[in-house]
Amino acid sequence: MTHVSNLQKVMDSGKFGVTGEIGPPRGADPDHIIKLARELKGSADAYNLTDNQTAIVRLSSIGSAVILMKEGMEPVVQMTCRDRNRIALQSDLLGASAIGVRNVLCLTGDHQIFGNEKSAKGVFDLDSVSLLSTFRNMRDSKKQLSGEELEAAPQIFLGAAENPFGTPYEFRALRLQKKVNAGAQFIQTQAIFDMDWFERWMAEVRKMGIHDRVHIMGGVIPCKSLGGARYMKNKVPGMKVPDSIITRMKNAKDKGQEKEEGLRICVEMIERLKCIEGVHGVHIMAVMWEEMVPYLVKEAKLLPRPIL
């Protein structure tokens, strides 16, 4: 093994991990990623590069990862089952590992109907759970899905997402367990706005003992505006934004301080996450507002990031 994931080292050593997220541009220009990388460097242990998020055609996750690594930063390559079958997914894992990517996040993927190629044929040959078990076997048993032996195993820290706010609610901790059983070593949750709900979910997770088997990173999104908060509340399936957050954003808007309040709420969320037993990190999804990540981690007293 040439090197293991920095993110894994941080959380395995018991430190509170931080991941950020960079949305690749809708074009071939690398400068957008380079600019954000330089602004974000040192703020997180690794950075997610989304994989055609919401099914919008963007610069690829692995391509973005190469750009990020050139800046001396560690990527988390997101891989969805929407656009690639098992041949392409396994091939891309081998390719990612070969170029030095050490973190992969296994997702089923947003349905293509949300994106800008609505006539696309969704693949969904695998799903997030079978993707995890496939990748784990490639790494640990040096075998591809068909059972054939690989010439060399990929080196990878395997992640998955989980949404405590999706239905059926009582299945969500079990589904987390299922992902851990399939090979997930770290989990980035759906963005949390209802922290009481999340804490109840974590209590269930602890009761099942899952928190000892996986690094759970709580997902947060800083609200840029009242409109954004309302959009997430009403339009994003599987997201829960309590009225109290909407009220706070509305009051702030009246005072002309929406952005400040959005950031304040986000810092409060991170502070609370740090106190929850079994939560080993935070995943900051500053969508279209990536440049605020350094501010958020500083305010949440998560700096400096450990160098291991």
Binding site: D125, D127, G166, T167, P168
Partner: protein
Amino acid sequence: MIRAERKPVSEIARMLAGKKKVLVVGCKTCVAIGHAGGEKEVAELVSALRLVNAKEGHGWQFEQTVVERQCEKEWVRPIEEKIISADAVVSLACGLGAQTIADMYPIKQVYPGVNTMFLGVPEEQGVFVEKCLACGECVMFETGGICPVARCAKSMRNGACGGSADGKCEVNLETDCAWYMIYERLKLQGRLDLMTKVVEPKDWSKSHAGGRRKIVRKDLLIQPTDRTGTEVKK
């Protein structure tokens, strides 16, 4: 049954440009029960095309008929003369019916008058929903009799995904989340252990992904015999 929806009259009219003798053939099986291509719909389409004809002056002459099962040659053969004397055949059967005629009479131009949609059931009067994808490997024994391949927008084997909200699908908030239903069904049956099992990826080679499929039932084949009545190996 096989569910179909009639194509817009304007689309069918465009296909028939330049033709004279038009035969519209319906089917009395699935598409009749599904109100897409039975006797009534054949008559409706011919009436609509006659209006187009009167307005645009195509000079179309119509003949209309319905067969019992358009997907079987035996039922098509009795209308052979009508097919042969037509310039164009519009089939209101599913894709199977249209292709049966097209394959039997390769010189004839056969046009689909419907879009074949899915294998589905009538959920309520006038509402048909997809429930089977004919994937070639039925998995319902472990999903409480609910097919996730057809009823989950992502055909997931380990659902529900994170987009399941209030028991509905992220793709269409009016559609029930298949995995929400599976969870509830298995809970009712005391079989929730099936939800926690990591299910291996599906063998899609048994579906259309493995190439066009064919079922050969040797026990049903008519074996050629020699003069003594002994079966001759093919």
